[in-house]
């Protein structure tokens, strides 16, 4: 029997919760199929993905280490996405934030001041914001598409990073590796427990989440952004500035991504190097959508993706999988989520064979 999609009168709350869950189930099934075809041990891989990350305390802290930057960036991106500002260059903003923060320990190698870390925090945030501001300016002044601009700015940021690491900022004692000196302890966040990499910077995304929740759910500023995203004409009618919405969205994302970059160099990495972002800037886009652009939903989505990344690392070793397997899983997640999300606003209806039986050709 043929079906058609019919718009629901109200968004389905059930589907809103079921959509991310079914996306997880569907991608797991497809992924298992792919593993089977590739002749990889399916059960062991799934075990590595979903159970292994919780097997010991260290793994759990590693999950939270990944959770932090994903959460931080995704919360900010979601604000922009709700205002229909498509910033997909959080990766670049994160790189520039990391670079700006690193300038402090690079230029003050011998300093042991207590102000090192605060200065890095401020510079990291400002760096990310400055990079995002370029896109905001081009969008508001010349109506340049922010998707292209933010994406291309990411490439530029990457080249800037390579230039610094191969040139002026290269560690003179580093055997010509493209990385800076290891930062002094005063330039690093304190580990939460001895022997683990998870550190005090985890407070930043948690505080940021609370602020964003208040901003989006209770504050007029968030309301204005959402109106602009849902009905641009109504925003103009009310007198909300569309340009301001672009600036707020992009600066907020730059702020968060810059801080995320900063907490990587001042945290688990401890220096500036080429792989400073670990792809957080892109994964955060998936997190934002998987969390239905909702501050609370994003907390769960960020946690899930963090588990997946740690699990992926385990699977690389235990099941001899390539790293792209993790990317495939992430990609499937987003695609299935977007597909199932349709059912939040639409439902399947069978096309009834109406009681009007004869066709028009019958007559003519």
């Amino acid at each position: 029997m043929p079906f058609k999609l019919q718009r629901r009168e109200h968004a389905s709350r059930l589907m809103l919760i079921a959509a991310p869950l079914s996306a997880v189930v569907l991608s797991t099934i497809v992924c298992s199929g792919l593993l089977f075809i590739l002749n990889k041990p399916v059960g062991q891989t799934l075990y590595s993905f979903f159970i292994a990350p919780f097997e010991n305390f260290y793994s759990i802290t590693e999950v939270f280490l990944k959770f932090g930057p994903l959460l931080l960036i995704a919360q900010a991106l979601a604000v922009g996405f709700r205002a229909k500002v498509w910033n997909i260059g959080a990766e670049g903003q994160m790189i520039v934030g990391a670079i700006a923060a690193s300038s402090v320990p690079v230029y003050f190698v011998d300093s042991t001041s207590d102000w090192l870390l605060p200065a890095m925090i401020i510079l990291g945030a400002l760096g990310g914001m400055a990079w995002a501001a370029i896109a905001a300016f081009l969008k508001t002044r010349f109506n340049a598409n922010e998707i292209l601009v933010t994406l291309m700015l990411t490439s530029i940021a990457l080249q800037l990073l390579y230039y610094l690491l191969l040139g002026p900022w290269k560690d003179p004692m580093g055997f010509n590796f493209p990385q800076t000196v290891m930062f002094q302890n005063e330039a690093l966040f304190e580990p939460l427990f001895s022997g683990v990499r998870l550190n005090t910077s985890i407070a930043i995304p948690i505080i940021f989440t609370i602020v964003i929740w208040l901003f989006m759910e209770r504050h007029f500023g968030g309301f204005k952004l959402v109106v602009g995203g849902l009905a641009p004409q109504a925003a103009t009618y009310a007198g909300f500035s569309a340009k301001k919405a672009v600036w707020v969205s992009l600066l907020l994302a730059g702020f968060a991504a810059g801080l995320a970059g900063m907490s990587e160099v001042a945290g688990p990495i401890g220096q500036l190097q080429r792989s400073v972002t670990s792809g957080y800037g892109y994964s955060a886009i998936i997190v934002a959508y998987l969390g239905a652009l909702n501050p609370l939903g994003i907390v769960f989505a960020a946690f899930f993706l963090a588990v997946l990344q740690i699990g992926g690392d385990v699977a690389l070793v235990s099941a001899n999988l390539p790293i792209s397997a993790v990317h495939v899983f992430q990609g499937l997640l987003l695609i299935f989520y977007l597909a199932v999300y349709t059912l939040v606003h639409y439902q399947f209806k069978p096309i009834r064979s109406a009681s009007l039986s004869a066709t028009s050709d019958h007559v003519t």
Partner: protein
């Protein structure tokens, strides 16, 4: 075909939508050689029924007989094959192509022959139009003729016209009626959809009245009074409106536009030329005109949604202050309120609740504390608006998109009035609103005027403007007529301004302040 066998017969047609039964057991017979009116308020199910007949949508149950045989129309192509043609309110013509080019897109045959046929049909039915003219140079009436001719070129037996007069000035309406009568006499059946009672009584042979998706009655409009028709259409008697008051107007103009000229960026938009308007407290000023003559551009300029930096500082003034460069929110802070023509997407956000939609324009009225939304206060204020303006809805948390057009309009007008404005601007105040609600809205506008507020109205409904305005302007291709005292002019005078001729013989028409 025997004379009493109907050309088209609908038997117990039902069409359900998720929230409403649009057509409920509709029975309708249309005969050749007759003009059959389908009459009803907005939301009565007229359009749904016509779309069913034209094959655009399919019914859930019931059957359709064409010349006595059961048919099922899967798409408009099947309907056209039978000889059913439809002219929609919004024409489907390419503006950059000529008349004959447009027609040759759907009718096969060499252009030259088509041009010849267009001329012949034009002469025969008084639907003259130049086949080689570009569509963008044609008036609305001429474009409508092109649409009708296009239907006639394909062996037409039944012509469906959806609110054909709503886009026409009065002069063109009588021309259309002449053509339709000729068509009827040539054997074509016409389904004429309208909610205007007078014209149905003038033109139609039979009328089927729809109310709430059901047939309320089938009557002979030539012997039924307008009052009876209205009662049948809305189910109860129409309240009459209280007449004009003679209260003095304010000294100062609360809205003043001086030599406002704005060139349009859009090649198909309308440039405004030297617009002058004054609205005083205690009067209602109306702007008449066929839509698309600059109303949209003028509205955005007055509301502050569009700001033109080329205008002089003093070009637009509100409450005596220059506002030319002020945005919408700043103008609102001065005591200006605006109800736009598009309710969903402009006047209200469809996916947001009524409470959130209240916040849209009333945030300045103590609803924010340090930027945070005072949710209790917002809820109670929204609830007040719903109660006072009789908005039928599922409460303050119902989303705006779930309200009917009329109820949403009541909500938006209510919201804007709660701002207690000094100057109120309403575009199409009763467009798509049922008669009962429309009467209430008009009465409220009159009461506002009597309390000293300046009211500006843009409307396409001449009757409405004559009913409530004190003065009138007519807009045509971006030009605004001088101010006319409503009491001193006739609909025909206004019609002449609408089609761009100032009534030369009517020099005695007094031009008000």
């Amino acid at each position: 075909m025997s004379a009493n066998l109907p050309l088209l017969s609908l038997k117990n047609i039902t069409k359900r939508y998720p929230s409403v039964v649009a057509n409920d057991n509709i029975c309708l017979d249309v005969h050749a050689n007759s003009i059959h009116a389908v009459l009803g308020e907005n939301g009565a199910g007229k359009s749904t029924l016509m779309k069913l007949v034209y094959g655009l949508i399919q019914g859930d149950s019931g059957e359709m007989l064409w010349q006595g045989q059961r048919v099922q129309l899967r798409n408009p192509a099947a309907a056209r094959k039978l000889g059913i043609g439809m002219v929609f309110q919004h024409f489907s013509l390419f503006e950059t192509l000529s008349v004959v080019e447009n027609i040759s897109l759907t009718i096969p045959g060499p252009r030259h022959d088509l041009s010849q046929k267009i001329r012949e049909i034009g002469e025969r039915f008084q639907l003259t139009v130049n086949p080689d003219a570009s569509v963008h140079s044609l008036s609305v009436g001429e474009r409508q003729r092109v649409e009708i001719i296009r239907c006639l070129l394909q062996d037409l037996k039944l012509l469906i016209l959806d609110e054909p007069t709503s886009v026409l000035p009065p002069q063109h309406i009588s021309a259309l009626f002449k053509a339709l009568r000729k068509l009827r006499d040539s054997g074509v059946a016409i389904l004429f959809i309208s909610h205007k009672l007078e014209e149905i009584r003038e033109l139609c042979d039979t009328a089927t009245v729809l109310r709430g998706g059901k047939v309320a009655g089938t009557i002979d409009p030539t012997i039924t009074s307008t009052q009876e028709l209205a009662t049948l259409m809305i189910g109860h008697e129409v309240a009459s409106i209280q007449s004009r008051s003679d209260k003095p107007k304010s000294e100062q103009a609360l809205l003043q536009l001086e030599s406002v000229s704005v060139a349009s960026d859009d090649p198909f938009g309308t440039s405004l030329r030297d617009i002058n308007i004054q609205v005083h407290g205690g009067e209602i000023v109306g702007i008449a005109g066929v839509s698309g003559n600059g109303q949209a551009e003028l509205s955005r300029l007055i509301s502050g949604e569009q700001i033109d930096r080329n205008l002089a500082t003093n070009a637009i003034r509100m409450m005596g202050q220059p506002v030319t460069y002020l945005g919408a929110a700043q103008r609102r802070a001065l005591g200006f309120a605006f109800v736009p023509e598009e309710r969903l997407g402009r006047g209200a956000v469809p996916l947001m609740s009524l409470a959130q939609n209240t916040l849209l324009t009333t945030f300045d009225k103590g609803l924010l504390k340090g930027g945070f939304i005072q949710r209790k206060k917002l809820q109670s204020q929204t609830d007040e608006c719903i109660q006072e303006f009789d908005v039928r809805c599922g409460g303050v948390n119902a989303v705006a998109g779930s309200l009917s057009g009329g109820n949403l309009q009541k909500f938006i007008i209510g919201r804007e009035l709660m701002l207690s404005p000094k100057l109120l601007f309403v575009a199409q105040p009763t467009w798509g609103v049922d008669i009962g609600a429309a009467t209430a809205i008009r009465q409220r506008l009159l009461n506002l005027r009597d309390s000293g507020i300046a009211v500006l109205i843009v409307s396409e409904e001449l009757e409405e403007l004559f009913e409530i305005t004190d003065r009138l302007h007519v807009i045509n291709s971006g030009n605004l007529s001088p101010s006319l005292n409503t009491a001193d002019v006739t609909p025909n005078d206004i019609g002449e301004y609408m089609i761009g001729q100032s009534p030369g013989s009517k020099q005695e028409t007094r031009h008000a302040v």
